[in-house]
């Protein structure tokens, strides 16, 4: 449990660093480290498949896409941000954490534990038999993403 808590603190800290960091590359790498920590948390929760997806896809693929975009838009990275935003963030964050802790503490033992039927079978059975409709949706969304990227990067024809 202690390791899980340390990893969770790492997720939140690296996410906060990704928001605060001025350099976009540092922000993207911080986000990747946060994803890595989150993937390890998933392993600790007994969800290895979700952990593998989180580490390989979110920490790997999405970071590559972010870095590629940052490289392609390098000269546009100097957007003027208000300085006050980064200075005020730790204060707001601490206030939110205190409120968050108080709310969670007040909820302790007040949420009734609902009975859930015990799970049986393997992960493959749950994914392929119970959530078949989700898989069809996933295929449709991947195809939509592919067509959207193709449409956005198509070569423009000169009509005039």
């Amino acid at each position: 449990m202690t390791l899980q808590t340390i990893l969770l603190i790492g997720v939140v800290l690296f996410s906060a660093l990704a928001v605060i960091a001025r350099d976009l590359l540092k922000a993207a790498i911080s986000l990747a480290v946060a994803s890595l920590c989150l993937g390890l948390v998933f392993f600790g929760l007994g969800a290895p498949y979700a952990g593998v997806f989180e580490i390989s896809v979110v920490a790997g693929l999405i970071t590559v896409l972010f870095i590629l975009t940052i490289a392609l838009t390098k000269t546009g990275g100097d957007v003027r941000e208000a300085k006050l935003v980064n200075i005020v963030f730790p204060l707001f964050f601490l206030v939110f954490l205190v409120v968050d802790a108080l709310v969670m503490r007040s909820l302790l033992r007040k949420i009734p534990v609902l009975d859930a039927p015990a799970e049986s079978g393997s992960f493959g059975q749950v994914l392929w038999q119970q959530r078949t409709f989700d898989l069809i949706g996933q295929i449709a969304i991947i195809l939509a993403g592919v067509f959207a990227v193709l449409a956005l990067f198509r070569k423009r024809e000169n009509h005039d």
Partner: protein
């Protein structure tokens, strides 16, 4: 077991707050998208921890994988859009996008 669950929810709420703060205050398009990513991390953490605590970790995993696949598709499309916006405006400032209207 409830206290463990609330600990995970505590961190999930902190992640959602961090992402929403970035969405509300940042002007760089890539930073805004990093904010969306952080919010989705919080949601995924809440989903999986609830599944693990309730003994439905397999179903929660299946849902998390669905969320991750949708996220990848979203990221690819949104980053392609950001590159296109950059080609048009030569800037990543979100206020420049507002000037495109009309």
């Amino acid at each position: 077991m409830t206290s463990t669950w609330l600990l995970y929810l505590f961190f999930a709420a902190a992640l959602v707050f961090t992402g929403l703060y970035a969405l509300l205050t940042k002007r760089n398009l890539i930073k805004l998208f990093i904010g969306i990513e952080i919010v989705s991390k919080g949601v995924i953490l809440a989903l999986l921890s609830t599944g693990a605590v309730k003994g439905n970790v397999l179903l929660a995993q299946a849902l998390v994988i669905t969320v991750i696949v949708v996220e990848v598709s979203l990221v690819a499309t949104a980053l392609a859009l950001i590159i296109n916006i950059y080609r048009h405006t030569k800037s990543l400032d979100v206020r420049q996008v507002a000037k495109l209207k009309g």
